[in-house]
C-alpha cells in the first residue's frame, strides 16, 4: 500500500467481535480500471462512520462490496461478523441500506411500502404487524399511512425509506448520501435520529458531501480515486501534519469587497493558498508571517482588513490539502 495517511489510531482488528465492519485490502477492478484499491478500514459497533470522497472515487463501489452486491476482486471483508464473500445473503439480512434516491415504490402507499419491505426480510404475521406499528410510531407516519409514497415530501420520504430499511432490526445501516436534496430541518432531525439510534448500538456507515455532517461523525475516512487517504476522528484529521503543511500557518482575514481583496492577497509573496469563506478569506501563509505583516502588506496594496485572526484547519482544508498532495504525487510519478 502506498502513502496511506492514517491517524495512527487504527488498531489492527484484534478485537474482531467489537467490530461492525472490517475490510482488509479490499480491491475491486472493472477490467483495467481499479475502482477501489486495497482499501482497509475498521468500524466499531455503535459508531457513526462518515465516508467521504469526490464523486466517482469509489464510495459506492465500496458500499456495494460491503453489502455483498458486488463481487470482491481481492481482499477480505467482514460485516456484522459475517464474511461477505462466504455468505452475502447472511450479511444482507443483518444490514439495512438507504440510498439517496429513497428507493420507495411511488405507486404503493406508505403502509404497503412498509408491508412489502417487512415481508422481503422474512417478517410474517404478528411480528410483521408489530414491527410496522413500531416504525410508524417512531417516525410519526400515522397520518400518512394511506398516502401514495409519490405524494410525500422529501423529508417524509426519507423517514419512510429509513423506516423501511430498518424494519428487520439491522445492526448496521448503510446510508448513501441520505441528506441529498432535503431541507435543513429534516437534515437536522435525521442526524438527531442517527445519534439516538447509534446510542442503541446500531452502527451507521454514512456517505456525504456536507462538511458539517462530516464534523458530526465519530469516525471519518476519506477515499480518493479508490484509495483511502485519511482515516480517524475529525479532531485527529484536523491535527494531521499533512493538513497544515510544515512551515505554514492559517489566518482568517475579514475585509470589505472580499473578492477583490482575495485577488490582492494572492499577490503577497508568502501566501501559499487562499480561498473565500462567506465574507472572509482563509489564507495559508509561511510560518514566520504574523497578523501585523499581512495587515501592513494588504494596506500597502489598498485593502483595509477589518480583522485578521489565526485559524485551525477545517475538515475541508484537510481534504483539500490531502487531495493536492495525492495529485502531486501522482503527477510526479507520471
Amino acid at each position: 500500500m502506498t502513502a496511506l495517511v492514517t491517524s495512527g489510531n487504527n488498531p489492527a482488528p484484534a478485537n474482531a467481535s467489537n467490530l461492525a465492519i472490517c475490510a482488509q485490502k479490499l480491491t475491486r477492478k472493472f477490467g483495467d480500471f481499479t475502482a477501489v484499491d486495497q482499501a482497509s478500514m475498521t468500524v466499531e459497533r455503535g459508531e457513526v462512520f462518515g465516508f467521504l470522497g469526490p464523486n466517482g472515487s469509489g464510495k459506492t463501489t465500496m458500499i456495494k462490496m460491503l453489502t455483498g452486491i458486488l463481487p470482491i476482486t481481492s481482499g477480505d471483508a467482514t460485516v456484522a461478523g459475517i464474511d461477505v464473500r462466504k455468505d452475502p445473503e447472511g450479511v444482507r439480512q443483518r444490514i439495512g441500506y438507504m440510498s439517496q434516491r429513497f428507493s420507495l415504490y411511488d405507486d404503493l402507499t406508505v403502509a404497503e411500502n412498509l408491508r412489502f419491505y417487512g415481508r422481503i426480510y422474512g417478517l410474517r404475521g404478528t411480528t410483521l404487524d408489530e414491527k410496522i406499528q413500531q416504525t410508524i410510531e417512531r417516525n410519526a407516519l400515522q397520518p400518512y399511512l394511506d398516502r401514495l409514497a409519490a405524494r410525500l415530501s422529501g423529508g417524509w420520504k426519507q423517514r419512510l425509506a429509513l423506516g423501511c430499511s430498518m424494519l428487520h432490526d439491522p445492526s448496521i445501516m448503510f446510508l448513501d448520501e441520505p441528506t441529498a436534496g432535503i431541507d435543513p430541518v429534516a437534515r437536522r432531525k435525521l442526524w438527531d435520529l442517527l445519534f439516538d439510534l447509534s446510542g442503541h448500538g446500531i452502527t451507521f456507515f454514512v456517505t456525504t458531501h456536507y462538511m458539517d455532517e462530516a464534523e458530526r461523525c465519530s469516525h471519518l475516512a476519506y477515499i480518493y480515486y479508490g484509495q483511502i487517504i485519511a482515516d480517524g476522528t475529525p479532531d485527529q484529521l484536523r491535527d494531521l501534519p499533512e493538513a497544515s503543511p510544515a512551515g505554514t500557518r492559517r489566518f482568517e482575514i475579514d475585509a470589505p469587497q472580499v473578492t477583490s481583496a482575495l485577488r490582492t492577497a494572492r499577490e503577497l509573496p508568502y501566501l501559499k493558498s487562499a480561498t473565500i469563506f462567506g465574507r472572509s478569506i482563509h489564507a495559508l501563509v509561511e510560518e514566520n508571517v504574523t497578523q501585523q505583516d499581512i495587515d501592513r502588506d494588504l494596506r500597502a496594496r489598498g485593502v483595509q482588513p477589518q480583522e485578521i485572526r489565526p485559524l485551525t484547519a477545517t475538515l475541508e482544508d484537510v481534504f483539500v490539502e490531502l487531495t493536492y498532495k495525492k495529485q502531486a504525487k501522482e503527477a510526479s510519478r507520471a
Partner: protein, 385 residues
C-alpha cells in the same frame, strides 16, 4: 432439502404481494392489456364472418347453345341458381373462355370461378357423373375454406335431388371438383382464430414482464432490492405469477369469445388446453423477464420485445404454413414457442387431438420456460446495478 428450496425462492411472497398492488394501482394499463386483445379478436373475427357471404363469383358455362340469349342449359342454370341462393356466392359475370375465367381470378375481381363443362347436360341425361370445376382463390384463406365447403354441399344436395327424382342411379350425378388456386394449403376461419389467440397471448404476456425489472432499474428501487435477502428466483417468480394468473384469465375470455361469438367448436379436452396453455404463458412471461433483465432502459425493453414478437408471429406458422418455409426458417421456427402453441391450439380445437399427440409440444414448452427463467436468474445474479 426443503430449507434449501425455500431459500432458493426467498422473497417470492413479498414480491408477489407488491406486484399485485402495482397491478391494482395501474388498473388502467391492466384493463387495456385485457381489453385490447378482445377487441382485436372481435375485429378480426368479424372481418372473417362478413367475408364468407356474397363472394364474387364468375361463371364459365360451356353447356347449352351459344346463340341463345340465356347462358348454359336448363340443368346448369338450375345448378348456378343453387349457388346464388346459398348466399355464399354472388355471380357477377359470365365469361366464355378459360383465359377470361383465369383473368378474373388473377385480377382478384372474382374469388370463385365455376366452370361447367360442355357435356354437363349430356352426362346428366345419360346418368353419368357430370363434373363441375369450382376454382377457389386460396390467397384469402377464410373465403377459400367456406367456398370449397359450400360448393361441395351444393353439389351433393343437387345430386341427391336428382337421384330422388329419378330413382335408382348408379353414380353420383354431379361431382363438384374443387381446385384451390394460389394457396394449396387451404385454411378455414376455424384455423385462423386459435392461432390468433396464441399470437395475442404472446404479445401481451411478453410485454407485461418485459418492463417489470427494467422499470425498477430506472426508478432505483432495484438497487434497494439487491441489498435485501431476496433471491433471483424468488424475485422473478414473484413478478411472473401475478401476470400469469392475469394471462390465464385473459385466455379464458378469448377462448369464450372464440367459442360463443365465433362458434368455433372445441373438439378436444378443455382441461388439456388450459394445462398446456399455462405452460405457454409461463414461457412467454419468462422471455419477457429475460428481456427485462438484459435491457438497460424501458425503451430498450420495448424494442427487444418487438424484435422477439414479430419474427415469432411470422415463424410460428400463424400466417405462413411452416411446411412451405425455406429450410433455414423452418429450422428457426423450432425455437419459437408460438409454433408449438399454435400446433397445440389447432390440434385440440380443430382436430380433437389429445395428450398422446401433444405431450411432446407441452414438454418442449416446459423445457423452454424453465431454461429461459434460469438464464434470466443467472443474468440477474451477475447484473451490477
Amino acid at each position: 432439502m426443503l430449507n434449501y428450496l425455500r431459500n432458493l425462492f426467498r422473497g417470492f411472497s413479498a414480491i408477489f404481494y407488491k406486484e399485485t398492488v402495482h397491478m391494482r394501482r395501474d388498473s388502467m394499463a391492466m384493463m387495456l392489456a385485457l381489453v385490447v386483445p378482445i377487441v382485436e379478436m372481435v375485429i378480426l373475427g368479424a372481418a372473417i364472418d362478413t367475408n364468407i357471404r356474397q363472394v364474387n363469383t364468375v361463371v364459365y358455362d360451356q353447356s347449352g347453345v351459344m346463340d341463345v340469349a340465356q347462358e348454359g342449359s336448363s340443368a346448369s342454370r338450375d345448378l348456378i341458381n343453387h349457388f346464388i341462393n346459398s348466399d355464399t356466392f354472388k355471380v357477377y359475370k359470365y365469361v366464355h373462355s378459360d383465359r377470361e375465367l383465369n383473368e378474373e381470378l388473377v385480377a382478384g375481381r372474382a374469388h370463385v370461378g365455376i366452370k361447367i363443362p360442355l357435356d354437363f347436360d349430356r352426362k346428366l341425361l345419360r346418368g353419368e357423373t357430370a363434373q363441375v370445376m369450382v376454382i377457389v382463390d386460396g390467397s384469402d384463406s377464410s373465403t377459400a375454406g367456406t367456398a370449397v365447403n359450400v360448393a361441395g354441399a351444393i353439389g351433393l344436395d343437387q345430386s341427391l335431388q336428382l337421384v330422388l327424382a329419378r330413382g335408382i342411379n348408379l353414380g353420383q350425378p354431379i361431382e363438384i371438383r374443387p381446385k384451390v388456386m394460389f394457396n394449396p394449403d387451404s385454411r378455414s376461419p376455424n384455423f385462423f382464430l386459435p392461432g390468433l389467440i396464441a399470437v395475442l397471448m404472446l404479445m401481451i404476456t411478453v410485454m407485461l414482464t418485459a418492463f417489470s425489472v427494467v422499470r425498477e432499474k430506472e426508478r432505483g428501487t432495484l438497487e434497494q432490492l439487491m441489498v435485501t435477502p431476496v433471491r433471483p428466483l424468488g424475485l422473478m417468480l414473484g413478478k411472473i405469477m401475478p401476470y400469469f394468473f392475469m394471462g390465464l384469465g385473459e385466455m379464458m375470455i378469448l377462448l369464450g369469445f372464440m367459442r360463443v361469438v365465433f362458434r368455433v367448436p372445441v373438439h378436444g379436452s378443455v382441461v388439456l388446453l388450459v394445462a398446456l396453455t399455462s405452460i405457454y404463458l409461463f414461457v412467454n412471461l419468462a422471455i419477457g423477464m429475460l428481456i427485462s433483465v438484459r435491457a438497460g432502459t424501458q425503451a430498450e425493453a420495448m424494442q427487444s420485445s418487438f424484435s422477439i414478437m414479430l419474427p415469432s408471429i411470422f415463424l410460428s406458422g400463424y400466417i405462413f404454413p411452416r411446411e412451405t418455409m425455406p429450410v433455414i426458417f423452418h429450422a428457426m421456427s423450432n425455437f419459437v414457442p408460438a409454433t408449438y402453441m399454435i400446433n397445440i391450439f389447432r390440434g385440440i380445437i380443430l382436430r380433437g387431438a389429445g395428450f398422446q399427440e401433444l405431450w411432446l409440444d407441452g414438454l418442449i414448452l416446459a423445457v423452454m420456460g424453465i431454461g429461459v427463467l434460469l438464464l434470466a436468474a443467472r443474468k440477474f445474479e451477475r447484473m451490477v446495478v
